[in-house]
Amino acid sequence: MHELSIAQALVEQVEAARLANGGGRVVSVEIRVGEWRQVVPEILKSYFDHLSKGTPMEAARLEIDHVAASARCGSCSEVFALDDIFLICPACGSRACELLTGGELDLVGLELDT
């Protein structure tokens, strides 16, 4: 349900970027969401559609790029995909690993029809 807060923040950022780039109608919005983010794409899309009604981003296409989770071992520096979510190094068994990717929640671009 926190997708509503995320959609609200997204709509504000898209509007700011739109105005900073001369205005016009927003055709598409591209965002990046990491695997560890508890975001349900369908719910985020429906909130985005709802909040953008009657604004210059009404009917804009929301493109969601999914980013797989990966980690780096603090002991042996191995970089590995987090297939089973647990932060345990497959090379040396160390638990001193940090999340490298998978935590993203970013607006990366938009397309304007000016």
Binding site: L87, R95, L105, L110
Partner: protein, 226 residues
């Protein structure tokens, strides 16, 4: 026209959280953000913790809930200042709420701020409130499989409380499997099995909270002298 930008979508919340952190540091106060599902025992934990520290530390509480002031009334009965933050349906607290709550609760006279997030094991983990430490609260009746199902929370916490351990004999909770999964997500955070009903284990958790507070304030003092 295609435009490339790169903004963390939650940056407005993160900015508000940074302001909360600065406000807390300025006041010499330490804030704990308690996150756990409905009925996991967050309010009961506060009811156990507050009387144990009230003679040494001044405590204020921010109670996050979707509706009703029932939790705030329980805390007010302990004689500490409490502010109810009603989200009106929202599933989590955000930093701007906490900033308002700190003003209302009277931060200047406080050492500890205990923030009870909305009962929810998933969403609150996504939002930085500017707290000093996140505390995960799980109870044995919720099952030992939760770390793997909600990895973000268990990864993010600075400490984990496992409550209702007096009920262990009546459940199939597998402590070994639970600890192995938790440690697979979080190698460092201390783990406090306890029971608010019997009081077992509460003292160790309180010691940890006081350590976090003295570390923060010692650092603050040392930093100020430089």
């Amino acid at each position: 026209m295609e435009i490339k930008v790169l903004h963390n979508i939650l940056e407005a919340n993160d900015r508000a959280a940074d302001e909360v952190r600065a406000t807390l540091a300025g006041a010499g106060a330490t804030a704990f953000n308690f996150i756990g599902g409905p009925g996991s025992g967050k309010t009961s934990l506060l009811e156990r913790v507050i009387p144990r520290v009230a003679d040494r530390l001044r405590v204020g509480v921010l109670e996050g809930d979707i509706a009703t002031t029932r939790d705030a009334e329980r805390i007010a009965a302990l004689g500490v200042p409490v502010v109810q933050l009603l989200t009106g349906g929202g599933c989590h607290l955000e930093a701007a709420f906490v900033a308002r709550g700190l003003t209302e609760v009277g931060l200047s006279g406080l050492d500890l701020v205990l923030i009870e997030n909305v009962g929810n094991i998933a969403c609150p983990a996504e939002f930085d409130l500017g707290e000093t430490a996140k505390v995960g609260v799980l109870s044995v009746t919720e099952g030992h499989d939760k770390p793997g199902k909600y990895p973000l929370l268990f990864h993010e916490v600075s400490a984990l409380v496992l409550g209702k351990i007096d009920l262990l004999p009546y459940t199939d909770f597998d402590m070994q499997a639970f600890e192995a999964d938790f440690r697979g997500l979080n190698a460092k955070a201390p783990f406090f099995p306890l029971s608010c009903r019997t009081g077992e284990g509460v003292a160790a958790f309180v010691v940890w909270m006081e350590q976090v507070h003295s570390r923060e304030t010692d650092f603050g003092r040392g930093y100020g002298q430089q």
